[in-house]
Amino acid sequence: MEFTFDTGRGAPGTARRLAGERAGQGLLARSWRRFRRDRMAVLGAAIVCGLVLVAVFAPWIAPYDPAQQFDDGLSLEGLPVPSTLPASTRFILGTDANGRDLFSRIVYGARVSLTVGVLANLLAVGIGTLLGAVAGYSGGWVESLLMRFTEIMMAFPTLLLAIALVAILRPSMWVIIFVIGAVYWTWIARVVYGQVLALKAQEFVEAARCVGARNGRIIVRHILPHLLPTAIVWGSLGTASNVMLEASLSYLGIGVRPPTPSWGGMIQQGQQFYRSAPWLVVYPGLAIMLTVFAFNLLGDGLRDALDPVQRKRMEA
């Protein structure tokens, strides 16, 4: 895959070919080589791929329907059955307080977590990049207005704002995606804003303006491509935060509605049994941790690979 930042002028492909020859390879190809050598990043990417496969093929992986209540899924005292009892080998992670198979529920839970995490983050990266870029590029009162607004949104305690918004809009998966996107974009806007300010002062932007390019064209052809690495890195790091935020909302009982299995909700329902049935808390939590960890590893790896300057700075 080749990716270069050509000026978009001249015969199509000429500039690209020239730039490609000079640099040896495109940015993405070089980044990919760096990324491949980073063992932790590759591990993160592998876990993320695995999780996506689990979410997509949940009906084939889960041994049972996540909502099915089994008669032998509860002990004689009406308590969840652990996986260690010989009588219950068919439940590999034990059952929950309703006699449902915990493993199947965790497998299906990946769907909610990943869908919310990824879509909410697309929304946040979209809003953040747009507002940050417009504020940084336009300057003047638009800049002040947008950045003051960002500052105000940053002063809200994140989780509390999300809880209040969900309560107002009534919980459903789409509302949660919207709310997380609506509270999380501020960080990205700040980062993008700073970058655009720096980019705007670069010579190639000035050159483009000299040859008569309009603002829209400059933004699309010269500014946005440079923001791509940032967007990719935040695409991963942000997903990690959003998976955590979704789990937190579900844990507080204002996430995705109960019949749909979500990891945070499973911990909330399991916590009253945590002394007698700790697995109800332990396994869903491990699933959250693994997911967040994988996206963080991937994001760190992508940042190191896409942004060698930053990497040099980090490693001094």
Partner: protein, 306 residues
């Protein structure tokens, strides 16, 4: 310095106004009738209408907001239907507990995060560094409510060192503070490591070594003061997340703080209390970011003169 502090405080005011306005507008569109909540489920339609008139709920949005602001400036944040007491009084009753938790959590963050980060940087690429950074990334990835439940299970239930919840002496604070602070400690460790590495490569460090300064003195006099500056900045940006995270910790440990009260208020649609807690926590965030800026101004004179 005085002018710097004043300017910083004045910059915080519009942020507070904005937060209160956005919260007010949000709540205005809440699909619940405050007059009905206030009157109770058995009140007649006429009573509800009278109360709506009394509370001024028929006025336009901006009149209601103006009135709220005016009263708030006079220390009146309204009356909680659910708790049957003034909102400000309810907040003051719970605030000391949240403050304890915040202070304990930040202490854990700094006491663990900074040393781990500095040691990792000084031993860059050693197994200690690698292990430290992987553990830090795991720490960042751990859901705080889950960590809290695990700590309760092992250190309060299986091995009863700490109480199972509630408040009281210092031993009640240990597990909640660790839960609140551990994720942040991991962030601080990563942050401190990279800023320490950056400072270690700076010219002034080479100069200091060149003039024959000992390694310990270089570390204390030149590397650490410069490395910790970005960490202070991060502390300021971290506070909204931290205050949010406290909500979860309070829930796990049945800690009677503001966060738990806010969640209850939202479940009960107790509008004045929701409004009050959100504005109050935003005030906390703004005040602490001002405090962080002032501390930074004290540490780094370049910032004062910007």
């Amino acid at each position: 310095m005085g002018r710097f502090v004043l300017r910083r405080i004045l910059l915080g005011l519009p942020v507070l106004l904005g937060v209160s306005l956005i919260t007010f507008v949000m709540i205005y569109y809440l699909p619940a009738d405050p007059a009905r909540m206030y009157a109770g489920p058995n009140a007649s339609v006429e009573t509800v209408a009278r109360i709506r008139q009394q509370l001024g709920l028929n006025d336009p949005l901006w009149v209601q907001y103006g009135r709220y602001l005016w009263r708030a400036l006079h220390g009146d944040l309204g009356f909680s239907y659910n708790l049957q007491m003034p909102v400000l009084q309810a907040i003051w009753a719970r605030f000391p507990y949240t403050l304890q938790l915040i202070a304990g959590g930040i202490l854990v963050e700094l006491l663990i995060g900074i040393p781990v980060g500095v040691i990792s940087a000084l031993r860059q690429y050693s197994w200690l560094d690698r292990a430290g950074m992987i553990i830090a990334l795991l720490g960042v990835s751990t859901p705080p409510f889950w960590l809290g439940l695990l700590l309760l299970f092992w250190l309060a239930f299986k091995v009863p060192i700490f109480p199972l919840g509630g408040t009281g002496g210092l031993q009640h604070l240990v597990l909640p503070a660790v839960t609140a602070g551990l994720g942040g400690a991991a962030w601080y460790a990563r942050m401190t490591r990279s800023s320490t590495l950056e400072a270690m490569a700076a010219d002034y460090v080479r100069t200091a070594r060149g003039k024959g300064m000992g390694e310990g003195a270089v570390l204390l006099r030149h590397i650490l003061p410069n490395a910790l500056n970005p960490v202070i900045t991060m502390a300021g940006m971290d506070i909204p997340w931290f205050v949010g995270g406290v909500v979860l910790v309070e829930q796990v440990f049945a800690w009677p703080g503001i966060g738990r009260m806010a969640v209850e208020a939202i479940h009960e649609v107790d509008i004045p209390l929701i409004m009050g807690t959100v504005v109050f926590t935003a005030l906390l965030v703004v005040l602490s970011s001002i405090l962080v800026d002032i501390v930074q101004g004290l540490v780094d004179p370049r910032i004062r003169h910007r």
